[in-house]
């Protein structure tokens, strides 16, 4: 078996698996019930999917100079994905885009309500003065 065939086979496997991860995201977007669980499907499989596709690309290009730029592309993806997921998730939670009946527990709700209550009583205190 010559090395070229091996590299081709490995990159083929990587590409198909990477594409599968995009498919997972699409299926998740369609099937999951609320914004939060959709965020899991929409943001996360790309971490692996992009990694596999970039790795396949690097293997096919057959030059070392392309690897650093692929690494940088992936690292920037790693840095930005959680931030966008967090921002959307946070905004979604605050605007009540979730199904409470599908949460087995919600430890944030009590905290939010306590903070809202405190804000309300503080506001009332200010009115008294």
């Amino acid at each position: 078996m010559n090395p070229d065939t091996v590299i081709d086979a490995v990159s083929a496997v990587f590409m198909v698996t990477g594409a599968l991860m995009s498919l997972a995201a699409a299926i998740g977007l369609l099937r999951f019930p609320d914004l939060m669980s959709r965020m899991h499907a929409a943001t996360k499989p790309q971490v692996l999917g992009l990694f596999l596709l970039l790795a396949a690309l690097g293997l096919q290009m057959r030059t070392w100079s392309v690897w650093p730029v692929l690494l940088v592309a992936w690292l920037f993806q790693l840095l930005t994905v959680p931030v966008s997921a967090h921002m959307v998730g946070r905004a979604g939670y605050r605007t009540k885009h979730l199904h409470p009946e599908l949460l087995s527990s919600d430890e944030l709700e009590a905290v939010v309500q306590k903070a809202a209550q405190q804000a309300a009583t503080h506001g009332a205190d200010d009115d008294d003065r």
Binding site: G28, R31, T43, H86, G89, R90, L102, S105, E107
Partner: protein, 181 residues
């Protein structure tokens, strides 16, 4: 302008990263290109000044490599888990929002822990309480208290791993005390 001066040592990781990005984008790591990149990096860091990241002052490469490999493994496993959930459970999936108090109060470690946890499919940081350094995490397929405890342990373990890599000496000794007890 009244700005806190930072030492070159503190700024060095940023400069090295900028030079690396420069070389990667040109796809050329020849000394001349790197030198020019370093010049631009220093200029950029001086002109577009950002508050310095407070590093812990140590970085353990021997801990970082296994951590990165385990991280990749977890990403692979969890990606397929989310695929399975999407196909099989779909609309009936049950999630939970779990509060996880962290040990460290440093911004860098809280951010890093949140990032790593967010990148592993199945958990998502919804809210951060910086004053108590508590992460509120939305976990998919968390059906009962047992699953929630598992998620909490996973987050705490991730933080422990990050402290071993780049936490301050004080955090590290607190962690060793905790695990010894």
């Amino acid at each position: 302008m009244n700005r806190k001066r930072i030492s070159l040592r503190q700024e060095l990781p940023l400069l090295v990263w900028l030079v690396f990005v420069w070389g990667a984008l040109w796809q050329n790591f020849s000394p001349g290109n790197l030198l020019f990149g370093a010049l631009i990096a220093v200029l950029v860091a001086r002109i577009f000044y950002l508050p310095p990241v407070e590093l812990g002052g140590r970085f353990n490469v021997l801990r970082a490599v296994p951590f990165a490999l385990i991280f990749l493994g977890k990403v692979v496993a969890a990606s397929f888990q989310v695929l399975y959930l999407a196909v099989v459970r779909g609309p009936n999936v049950v999630s939970a929002v779990v509060a996880v108090p962290l040990r460290s109060h440093s911004d860098l470690l809280v951010t890093a822990t949140g990032h790593v946890i967010s990148l592993i499919p199945g958990s998502l940081v919804v809210e951060v309480d910086r004053s108590t350094s508590t992460l509120y995490i939305h976990g998919i397929n968390v059906r009962n208290a047992e699953d929630a405890a598992k998620l909490r342990k996973e987050v705490r373990d991730t933080e422990a791993g990050l402290i071993r890599i780049m936490g301050t000496k004080a955090e590290l000794s607190a962690l060793t005390l905790e695990t010894a007890a």
